[in-house]
Amino acid sequence: MIKPYKIKVEGVSKTFTSGGKVFPALDDVNLTVEDGKFVSIIGPSGCGKSTMFNIIAGLTPPTGGDVFADGESIAGRAGYVGYMLQKDMLLPWRNILDNIILGLEVRGVPRKKAVGRALPLIEKYGLKGFEKHYPDELSGGMRQRAALLRTLLYDRDIMLLDEPFGALDAQTRLLMQNWLLEIWRDFGKTILFVTHDIDEAIYLADEIYVFTKRPGKIKAKIEVPIKRPRSAGDMTTPEFAGLKSTLLKLLFSASPDGAETAGGDEID
């Protein structure tokens, strides 16, 4: 080990078989994230970003390679990292409070204790007064807040966020991004954040990994030198524009197997 790392993906590959054919989804993916960093991952649709998250989260075993966190292998070990899926996945039959404490409940934390830990977070992060509401009574932004608080309360050092703000309108999205940065600053988590939105990737992250299209490989790693704390104004600086143009070039440059452009689709 040259550098202390929080999470390390080492030579991970993944293939799926369907109809007797083998489809490579990930091919020799390597990434190393230092403790407390915010890392964005961008790439064309279907490049295997979600597959990689499923592997890090221990839900799918990799075909090759391994994932380490704090020096231990965590491949195939579910529950080691906090994972927020694309959809908010709030359980409709539970109110917001009961949704937020779900992770603690699964871990066997007594309800009273779990509620005691959830209430201050709910109050601080803008869901006060909604504890007893059901998910269908909340707006998209509020639901995402609840889902993120659920992941946060699950209390893992590493959080994987898979396009959490993809379904929100632009203004709500900006609010949520600032809110997420606030939480990240308060808790010092290591965050891996998948997005389709280049602006979002730059605005949030310390480092950006760019994936190729399927089979997913890491094409480039870009550092984001913009100072923190950041605000919406940073998005109009020449520095930001320069980064954006670099990333656009990386995403839309001809891929090795043809002239086709990648990154067209909005949704996975």
């Binding site: 899926l85 959809k87 359980l91 409709p92 699964v106 059901y134 269908d136």
Partner: protein, 281 residues
């Protein structure tokens, strides 16, 4: 010139809104009155046609005689005991059948192989006319209360299992993934996701089940019994007391309606406390 006409338009618009609400109220009143009128008309017509001889009172009896006999039977006969007997076997069959069927249906979540093996048998058993098993059940379990409860149970258990299995099949896999990502074990996924998300399906089987259970109990009593409204109907038929047959039909109809409304209340209670689906207020 424009001012008064504007005022007029406003007033008109207001009156339209008022009319709209008013019309809804009016329509509700018309529906209620219409329903009562139809019911009265049926019974009055029945009474009238049997009195003038257009309907033979021997076969048709008449509402007044039915009510009178019902009252007599309630006051002096064994009717109240029979009602309790029939309701008890139906309710016991309904409750046990629904619970057992729900457990059976939910159990299919645990293994796809087990579910795959069971599915055709479930379908066949559902198609099987279980009432035809009545005579066997009476021989197996005797002419007493138990054979009726068993028939009511058999009537409900498979339907519920099929409904519950439908619920299991429609569980959102992403919700299961979420739970696994939180490090949940299978039984936690089962209790926290599979059961609550299948509950609406199980609840929707209740209305069907209560009618099926009652039919099971009645047929059980038809075959062989010492008590119950079903036995009374068969008995009255064999001694050609058609008035008493009508009493039985009347009482069973009332019983069925009462049970139906109890189930609707139960359904509301369960839905309010345990279920909340997307998109419902």
């Amino acid at each position: 010139m424009t001012k008064p006409s504007k005022k007029y338009a406003c007033a008109r618009a207001k009156r339209f809104i008022y009319d709209d609400e008013h019309q809804i109220k009016k329509r509700k009143k018309i529906i209620a009155a219409g329903r009562i009128a139809v019911a009265v008309l049926i019974f009055a017509g029945w009474e009238f046609f049997t009195h003038i001889g257009l309907m033979d009172p021997y076969y048709w009896s008449c509402p007044s005689a039915i009510l009178e006999t019902t009252w007599e039977q309630l006051a002096h006969g064994s009717l109240s005991g029979d009602i309790a007997y029939t309701s008890a076997s139906a309710v016991i069959g309904f409750v046990t059948g629904t619970l057992f069927g729900a457990v059976l249906g939910l159990s299919f979540w645990w293994s796809k192989a087990y579910a795959g093996i069971s599915e055709p048998f479930l379908i066949v058993f559902n198609a099987l006319p279980k009432l035809a098993l009545g005579p066997v059940l009476v021989i197996m379990f005797g002419i007493g209360f138990f054979s009726k409860a068993v028939l009511a149970f058999l009537m409900t258990v498979v339907t519920t299992a099929i409904y519950a299995y439908g619920g299991v099949k429609s569980v959102d896999p992403a919700m299961e993934t979420l739970l696994y990502s939180l490090g949940a074990r299978r039984w936690q996924v089962f209790t926290k996701i599979v059961v609550p998300s299948s509950l609406p399906w199980i609840i929707s089987s209740l209305r069907v089940n209560i009618a099926l259970a009652l039919a099971g109990s009645i047929v059980g009593e038809f075959i062989s019994s010492e008590h119950g409204v079903g036995r009374m109907v068969i008995y009255a038929g064999t001694i050609l007391d058609i008035n008493l047959v009508w009493v039985g039909v009347f009482v069973l109809s009332v019983l069925s309606v009462v049970m139906y409304f109890c189930v609707v209340l139960l359904e509301k209670f369960l839905s309010r406390h345990f279920v909340r689906m997307n998109g419902q207020g």
